[in-house]
């Protein structure tokens, strides 16, 4: 996939606050940032690695702007986790425009998730460009 992510240089951290979980994601490019956000979400949901039946899915998300696209992307993954019990850990992401995402996601269909995530929120949402790439924060309702 052209423009796909270089995951090795990306990183994320889960910061816990009183009743919420904040994802802090760093990546060298925007597609990497979205891929890393997907990985961070899988970690937040606490699905054990290596369990379940392998699955692969093409995902398309559209939103009004780049920030909303990050929220909608994570909410798409939250929906797939709850409705289809699919947890994705590897992503190849393309961003053809500011408000459109195409992804090839790989993961597993699992029996049970450790931690429920209700939704990704717009609360304290930010994507910031840095000299070496991008930093984003997204708050999850857990």
């Amino acid at each position: 996939m052209p423009g796909s992510s270089q995951v090795a240089r990306s990183s994320h951290a889960l910061e816990e606050h009183t009743g919420e979980l904040k994802l802090r994601i760093e990546a060298p490019s925007l597609p990497d940032l979205f891929a890393e956000a997907g990985k961070a979400l899988a970690e937040a949901m606490g699905a054990p690695e290596g369990e379940g039946v392998p699955v692969e899915k093409r995902i398309e998300v559209e939103a009004s702007d780049r920030d909303a696209l990050l929220v909608d992307w994570l909410n798409e993954l939250v929906f797939l986790a709850e409705a289809e019990k699919m947890i994705f850990r590897e992503f190849r992401v393309e961003l053809p425009s500011e408000g459109r995402l195409l992804a090839l996601a790989r993961g597993a269909r699992v029996e049970r998730l450790r931690n429920p995530v209700k939704a990704a929120t717009y609360h304290a949402l930010a994507i910031t460009a840095r000299p070496q790439g991008f930093v984003a924060t997204v708050v999850l309702d857990v």
Partner: protein, 476 residues
């Protein structure tokens, strides 16, 4: 952000208006000094001030003594908007639409179940799927799910025989909010909720077997059918993934139209639209439908607990009667004098007083039962609504203890297996998927519910009736 507060009444504090807030109504919070200090530790005051920016806000944005930081709105917040043009905001209800509480009581005293508590809790745990994404036993076709969303508990009783006929009078709004439309609930939300009717969900959701340990108001307790030493059951859960998806879907829609309606917001999570607009009406209808799903979820769980009580205890006195079922996360259209308001209650409980005509006949002249769940393993309270609350707080009061510590911090402070042993030593038998999940919901992670209740009692927005302590806990 550190706000200056000035006391404007007993336990009532007003945020001194920040520069640039213009003619916005004030933000006020009910609390004593200790709860106020806890509230100041997070950003909930900032969020309450942001709420005053919503178009059409009436009188003031109010914080209850259990207020804590939420998403857009604080949890423990009450905001009323004037209709027809005032806004409705999904963030003012929250993701867990109609998270709420149901109290059922037996005629048994604690001594009668002491020997059976372990099998009782075990059987409740087996009958009610807990946790995330677990399949419930009440499986519905899509058409049946639409009826649940449109009609709520009356449909569930009429067509599926779930519950007793007299239950309906003892559920807020009869277990069916007006204006609900299944057609405004997305397919995605229906997919998420399809297998979740009758499931607890994670977090602080629980079913507890409790004992009435103290009565504060003999007359109200008598009218509610409560007596000291009585065995009761408290169910705490909401509309599950269906409600979460309704909030997600409509937040997204409102986020895209905020500018079109000329609304400027300090926080994107406060996305809203006039209730009179197509987007506002659509969300209200979907929210009401999700609330009906929440009422039905607790109806199914209560029905199963009744069955377990019959099977395990084998006594006519084990029959569970519904005292009341209240919502903690809703927006309701209510009349205050000459105004019609959309009252957003997010982590707040409706608290109608004795003169309200919507009360069940048996509670007229007393008031609406207000059910305040403790955190897992701590006391819960039954309060009663007051007529004064209409003037003071849009007939609203607190909803519970409120989190004071993150799940991770609780895990670092508490060892799950030790907590389990400690609870058992205090006479509380717990069923929980894991020790880790138990530690996350440890009592020290929550504010002091007794203190919260004391404040609302002294302010007069609900009065204390009874205190219940758990002897058996099934955690989601």
């Amino acid at each position: 952000m550190d706000y200056e507060l000035r006391q404007v009444g007993p336990f009532l504090h007003e945020v001194v208006r920040p520069e640039g807030s213009g003619t916005r109504p004030p933000a006020r919070v009910f609390a004593d000094e200790e709860l106020l200090a806890q509230i100041r530790r997070d950003r909930s005051l900032w969020q309450l001030v942001n709420v005053t920016a919503l178009p059409g806000i009436a009188r003031a944005a109010l914080g209850m003594p259990d207020m804590h930081e939420g998403y857009g709105f604080p949890v423990g917040g009450v905001a009323a908007t004037r209709l027809p043009d005032g806004v409705i905001s999904p963030g003012g209800i929250g993701f867990d639409i109609n998270c709420g509480v149901r109290l059922l009581v037996s005629q048994l005293r604690q001594e009668a179940v002491a020997a059976s508590i372990e099998p009782l809790v075990h059987e409740i745990s087996r009958s009610i799927p807990a946790g995330y994404g677990r399949k419930g036993r009440l499986s519905l076709t899509r058409d049946e799910l639409d009826h649940v969303l449109d009609e709520g508990c009356p449909y569930l009783f009429r067509e599926h025989g779930v519950g007793h006929p007299e239950d309906l009078e003892y559920i807020e709004s009869g277990g069916a909010l007006p204006g609900a439309e299944a057609g405004q609930v997305s397919d995605r939300a229906k997919v998420r909720g399809a297998d979740q009717l009758g499931t607890l969900g994670g977090g602080n959701h629980f079913v507890e077997v409790q004992v009435v340990e103290a009565i504060y108001d003999e007359e109200a307790a008598r009218r509610f059918g409560l007596f000291a030493g009585q065995i009761a059951v408290l169910v705490h859960t909401g509309s599950r993934g269906l409600g979460h998806q309704v909030c997600t879907d409509h937040l997204r829609t409102m986020d895209s139209v905020v500018r079109r309606y000329g609304i400027s917001l300090p926080d994107r999570q406060l996305a809203c639209a006039p209730l009179s607009s197509p987007e506002g009406r659509s969300y209200h209808a979907a929210m009401a439908a999700a609330a009906n799903f929440g009422f039905c979820n607790r109806q199914v769980i209560g029905h199963r607990v009744r069955d377990v009580f019959r099977r395990v205890l084998r006594s006519p006195e084990a029959e569970l009667r519904l005292v009341y079922d209240v919502a903690h996360n809703t927006a309701k259209i209510e009349r205050y004098g000459s105004e019609t308001l959309c009252v957003h209650r997010k982590g707040a409980t409706r608290a109608f007083g004795p003169s309200n005509p919507e009360l069940p006949k048996a509670y007229r002249g007393v008031g609406q039962p207000v059910l305040i769940p403790g955190s897992m393993g701590t006391a819960s309270h039954v309060l009663v609504g007051t007529d004064e609350a209409r003037e003071i707080s849009f007939a609203s009061t607190c909803h519970g203890a409120g989190r004071a510590m993150s799940r991770g911090a609780a895990k670092r402070r508490v060892a799950g297996h030790l907590l389990r042993a400690e609870l058992l030593a205090r006479g509380i038998f717990v069923r929980c998927p894991s020790n880790t999940e138990l530690a996350e919901e440890a009592p020290i992670a929550y504010k002091d519910v007794d203190r919260v209740v004391e404040v609302v009692h002294r302010v007069g927005i609900a009065r204390k009736v009874a205190r219940l302590r758990p002897i058996g806990v099934v955690k989601g």
